[in-house]
Amino acid sequence: MAVEVQAERATYVEMLRRMLAIRTFEQKAEELLNRGEILGSMHSSIGQEAVCVGGCMAVRPDDYMTGHHRSHGHPIAKGADLKRLMAELLGRVTGVCHGKGGSMHLADFSVGSLGEAAIVGSSLPIAAGAGLAIKLSGSGKVCLAFFGDGASNTGIFHEALNLASIWKLPVVFLCENNQYAITTSIKISSAVQQIAHRASAYAMPGQVVDGQDVLAVHAAVRAAADRARAGEGPTLVEAMTYRYGEHSTRLRLPLYRSAEEVEAWKQRDPIVLFRGWIVERGLATADELAHLEDAVKADVEAAVEFAHQSPYPDLDSLWDDMYADPSPWRERPIG
């Protein structure tokens, strides 16, 4: 084990780096929102970084991934460029979606991030469709599909998982079970308290993992991805996790989670846990990690800087991505 661990040192440090990148990026985004520079709604992944990174780093850079409304962390974990993500949040033309998608639609096809869907549950069939394309093409890839506990109550979850199962599509369904859909506890919204329990209704393996332990998530997703690549079909992995903040950064809702509950989860912070694990095993010194953190901060600052220097898209660019040939529309009046 020790040998293996040493050999994969770089990987572990990279995992930590990406988790830090997510947290720092999110903190900066929240700051920008509170300062009035980001105007839409925004859903932070803080507290859930281990699921993002454990999942995305368990698949290959050219594998596919789909996200949902709470998905700044997913493309970062998949290796997307922070600059273009931040520019997107700030509505700039240099954004990864040219300012058209924003916080809920980050997509970076260059790293296999096929985009986020803001309609809860709707990215699940998209992921299965990517799986179907993989299967038809024989490319040997997999698609990793993130979704929330709340999404598991949508009809589309049922249809997508059944389809993926009967066609043995190479998909890993990774549930980020943070136990709430906005204010609604899974206790009152779902007949079963573990989403993984639903896997048997689709004759696929279901597994619950500690979502605050990046290595546990990584191992489960890696095994599921191997299974998928071997043609054995999809797996449902459920990572137990928690969001520290409000559902959406801008919301101020009546209390629906106890202070103790929030505190207890913060005690098992995924970054603190993983940093401790790395230091304990001597995979990096405290100094090296301090450096890493500084580097991440600098990256995020550079991303903001990049975004700030970028122009907003102009009106005519609206039509650019509507159709392959948007000219019939472009000619019509705006009014």
Binding site: G40, G95, K100, T183, I188, Y312
Partner: protein
């Protein structure tokens, strides 16, 4: 008269109706916390049986509402953002709208479904649909479209008491608007438009665009142009008489709609007038709508694409000079 916001008016309507009629109940995601503002606090007075937080299952709970309505209840279903309508659409179109007819009058479906149309919320294309015209095309529904606190309260009360299924749309920018609301119980009839401002020269039918329409009328007044602003309030049934009477008087029509132009409510009004008001028309009709492009996230872009005062002023000048 009491002054309140649009949202307060809706909440007042709902809580008064819940007090009046024990068959009225509320369902939707996070309705207890009231993330969509109208239902906040209701659970304290009416309890969790009548204020039901649902799973994220829009089709499911919309269908439950139809089933409960068919045997005597009057559900108010909070479907939140209009862009989510599509997942629940089968239940509204194929069940709520059709069951009375299909079953030869054995069932009625007195449910109210609310959708909010997001504008200037910077939430991008999957959260900014304005599908009211899609529902107008479905027979069997009534569609209310209040714009002021007074109308919001009166129309919601009427819709709840009405024996037909009703869909309510409101624009998110209305929520914080304040206005006078009559004291006590009052209702506003479904199917009657409001002449928000009288005028002689041009009829401006304003669908979810009352405020820029009034601003445009005010600006044009200074140039001596008298604009009659009509707020339909109900999209189905549409008050065709009020619209046609106005055009008969002014001879000119501008119709604006927050929705995309193609097959919009504005198209319907234009077609109506081209058919039944043609002889009064002295100039081409002008539609002022959101163009047929998805709503972009980038705030400076989104802000430019909706009908606004300037576009309405330009359109009115257009039909006057035509």
């Amino acid at each position: 008269m009491a002054e309140m916001t649009f949202i307060q008016a809706l909440r007042a309507a709902l809580s008064e109706e819940m007090r009046r009629d024990p068959q009225v109940f509320v369902m939707g995601e996070d309705v207890r916390a009231g993330t969509f503002a109208v239902t906040t606090g209701l659970v304290d007075e009416f309890g969790p049986e009548r204020v039901r937080n649902t799973p994220i299952s829009e089709a499911g709970f919309t269908g439950l509402a139809v089933g409960a309505a068919m045997i005597g209840y009057r559900p108010y279903v909070e479907l939140t953002i209009a862009s989510f309508c599509y997942v629940a659409m089968d239940m509204i179109v194929n069940q709520a709208a059709k069951n009375r007819f299909l079953f030869g009058g054995q069932a009625k479906v007195p449910a109210v479904f609310r959708f909010v149309e997001f504008s200037r919320s910077y939430a991008a294309a999957q959260h900014t649909d304005r599908p009211h015209s899609l529902f107008m095309a479905i027979p069997g529904l009534k569609i209310i479209a209040p714009t002021t606190p007074r109308d919001a309260k009166g129309l919601l009360k009427t819709a709840i008491r009405d024996d037909d299924p009703a869909v309510m749309f409101d624009d998110s920018t209305f929520w914080t608007r304040r206005g006078e609301v009559p004291e006590g119980d009052y209702t506003i009839p479904i199917g009657r438009a409001s002449i928000a401002r009288e005028g002689r020269d041009v009829t401006l039918v304003a669908i979810f665009t009352l405020y820029p329409a009034l601003a445009a009328a005010e600006e044009l007044e200074k140039e001596g142009v008298s604009v009659e602003v009509i707020d339909p309030l109900t999209l189905v049934p549409l008050d065709t008489e009020t619209i046609l009477a106005s055009v008969a008087k002014t001879g000119r029509l501008v119709v604006s709609d927050m929705a995309h132009r193609t097959c919009s409510a504005a198209s319907e009004v234009a077609a109506l007038v081209a058919e039944r008001g043609f002889r009064s028309l002295r100039a081409p009709i002008r539609r002022v709508c959101t163009p047929d492009v998805h709503i972009p996230y980038s705030p400076p872009l989104e802000r430019q694409i909706y009908p606004d005062k300037d576009k309405l002023v330009a359109a009115v000048r257009d039909v006057l000079s035509a």
